[in-house]
Amino acid sequence: MAIKSLGNPYDEKTQLIHETGCSCGSCQASTAEQPEGALDDLGAQAKEQSGQNGGEIKPSRDVKLDSDFDSPDDMLDRAIENAIVRGVFNQHDPSRRRFIKLVGGSTLAGILASLLPLDKVKAAVKETRGKLEKTKLKVGFVPITCATPIIMAHPLGFYSKYGLDVDVIKTAGWAVARDKSLNGEYDASHMLTPMPLAMTMGAGSVAEPYIMPAVENINGQAIVLHNKHKDKRDPKKWKGFKFGVPFDYSMHNFLLRYYVAEHGIDPDQDIQIRVVPPPEMVANLRAGNLDGYLSPDPFNQRAVYENVGFIHILTKDIWQGHPCCAFACSQKFATDMPNTYAALFKSIVDATHYSAKSEKRAEIAKAIAPKNYLNQPEIVIKQVLTGRYVDGVEKTVHDVPDRIDFDPFPWHSMAVWILTQMKRWGYVKGDIDYKGIAEQVYVAAETGKVMKELGYEPPTKTYEKYNIMGKLFDYNKPEEYVNSFAIKRI
């Protein structure tokens, strides 16, 4: 997007008012006029400013912003200078150009700078631009370490850094988190990566367009078995086991199904998979209701800590770098409150990157252990986050720094993989527009933009291939991938 009136005000050759027949590049380039509604807030401001002299602006989307300005802020700076210079010359462009011809553009800039605190004016304008529609927000979370960025953003001040006053509300389980998000009690919520896809398609709930701006964590889950099964490390011996997963539409469910199916066990026939809210996993394992579970931490480590179960395998050894939890909100929230959404989005991406630093993990563990957040012994959280842990079988202390990691980028290929598994296990029927849904829900482009703004390097592509337990996943052939499995429900 380029705004035509934003010529360099210190240049005698530039016209600032773009009369008919104007020969500047942007006027030549623009072919079609955009309707009023297509103006974004920057365009609208520029229009206000140039509107004073009746100068017309014709915002055009053919000329890309990137070629003219490095960032929206630069463009806004120019717009402000522009307006001030025009004001000085009483909105009379010919006299401005005559004056510059006489003394030179840099002199004019110097005079203006000595008279006006330009930087302060620019700062003042920028502050009012991003006015938050709402500062008091409610964000739901389920008390697990996957939610680390969402939770620790509160005690470590990432929300307040972006002007938000966020209450992070503990939620009993995913179904409740989903319902409270759907009914608007939560402005945004911690969810599982498959949930916004399922909600958008209306699988398991009413259909409501959801978007997922950021993945929270990658890796960080595990299969835990009851201590009495220490001799049954081979999944082929698991027939008749009862397993817990946190939710139907969860990576946990799909990874457990994938894992046992690769070992020839049919997850629907040979074992029983039950939905158990994560916080209730350990109690159920101890009571013998479950033989094992694939659940989020800290409940894997807690089972070891309580001497109830042992860690059979970390999910990073099933699929290195798999996504797990997500930060999601309704499409409506993002559209109705763009500035609040942007601020929340930034604080989450910022917090996620902070969580990714291994040297910060011990500090984070201390911050999120208290009752108000995870309500778990600090030593359990610390084992999960630092990756220096015991598994309950071997008498050694393991060192796996990437046991859990944090990376906000929502790969479209991850969404496609999740959709293939939903299809594979019969959660959705019929034809799926894999890439279409993935790109609608996982707003990778926006995430990339926010990452860039915060000084992080986003990936240059949004699709990649995965190798999961020795089997290649090609995002270009989702349907073939689904059909290639021996055990499936279609």
């Binding site: 008390p143 209450d167 992070v168 509300i169 503990k170 939620t171 009993a172 179904a175 409740v176 319902d179 409270k180 009914n183 608007g184 009690e185 009413v206 916080p279 209730e280 350990v282 109690a283 101890r286 807690r302 070891v304 800590y305 309580e306 001497n307 109830v308 208290p370 009752k371 108000n372 957040y373 309500n375 778990q376 012994p377 030593i379 084992q383 220096r388 842990y389 015991v390 309950g392 008498k395 050694t396 202390v397």
Partner: protein
């Protein structure tokens, strides 16, 4: 010594013996040497899950009760605040139920036609577990707070409705006939004859209801979370902190008992001798 005093002494002795046995059976072994990192990560020397001894629970209870109204954020509030939230929900739902159930009970009790017409609905709706309404309530009402209140409403309405109808229907026919001979209107009969006569039965229904409402609120709050004594139990259960769980069980019992005592006090006021 009267019987009451002797009974009280026996009660106290029993309690004392139970507590001593409980305490003695659940002593954690003292750690003899400093723990290695491995042992520390494994949960220390105390590897056996055990119920906490009473001394720990009493210590914890003292700690919690000495600061009942602290507020350390949306997920960490004092026991007093949590109980207040639960009581607010219970009383709101309960009063709403009373406002609906008692007049409706009068209609059913006084009119055999309405009794027959409404009976099938009551019989179908009454046995439904109040928590089964929760998903539907969340979907329709779109507010977890009001959904919890609705669940209380739906569970406390039935005993009041049925008891009111029964009490009204079984008022002695002579009394109603006397009212008729005095040419009292239907409304006057209802208020000045039937209401006082049926009041003890109605109060019994209300007493049953408040008990059920208090039972259900704990489960409802465990489900929707956020605030309340049910959430408190759930939150401590997550942390497998039996100290707090036992403490909150005691608190739930005490508050439930107080609610029941209050209503039995009221019902004693309106007792009458025939």
């Amino acid at each position: 010594m009267t019987l009451n005093v002797r009974a009280a002494i026996v009660s106290l002795l029993l309690l004392f013996v139970i507590l001593v046995i409980w305490e003695a059976l659940n002593q954690a072994p003292a750690a003899t040497t400093a723990l290695s990192e491995y042992e520390l990560l494994m949960g220390g020397a105390d590897q056996q899950a055990r119920v906490p001894p009473p001394s720990k629970i009493i210590g914890h209870a003292y700690d919690e009760l000495s600061r009942p109204f602290y507020d350390a954020g949306p997920n960490d509030k004092g026991i007093g605040i949590q109980l207040a939230y639960s009581l607010y929900r219970v009383l709101t739902g309960y009063l709403a139920a009373a406002i609906v159930a008692i007049p409706l009970g009068f209609i059913i009790g006084m009119s055999p036609l309405m009794h027959k017409a409404l009976n099938p609905f009551i019989q179908v709706l009454r046995p439904i577990s109040p928590l089964a309404w929760m998903p539907l309530a969340l979907f329709v009402i779109k507010d977890s707070e009001q959904s919890a209140i609705f669940v209380i409403f739906i569970c406390s309405i039935w005993p009041m409705l049925i008891n009111t109808a029964f009490g009204v229907a079984t008022v002695r026919a002579d009394w109603v006939n006397v009212a008729k001979t005095h040419e009292l209107s239907q409304l006057m009969t209802a208020f000045s004859v039937i209401l006082p006569a049926a009041a003890p039965t109605i109060l019994t229904g209300m007493r049953i209801s408040i008990g059920i409402a208090w039972l259900v609120i704990v489960a409802a709050e465990m489900l929707v979370g956020g605030t309340g004594i049910g959430y408190y139990v759930w939150n401590e259960w997550n942390n497998l902190d039996l100290n707090s769980v036992i403490f909150s069980i005691l608190m739930i019992g005490i508050v439930g008992m107080l609610l029941d005592l209050a209503l039995s006090g009221v019902s004693r006021l309106i007792q009458y001798e025939e």
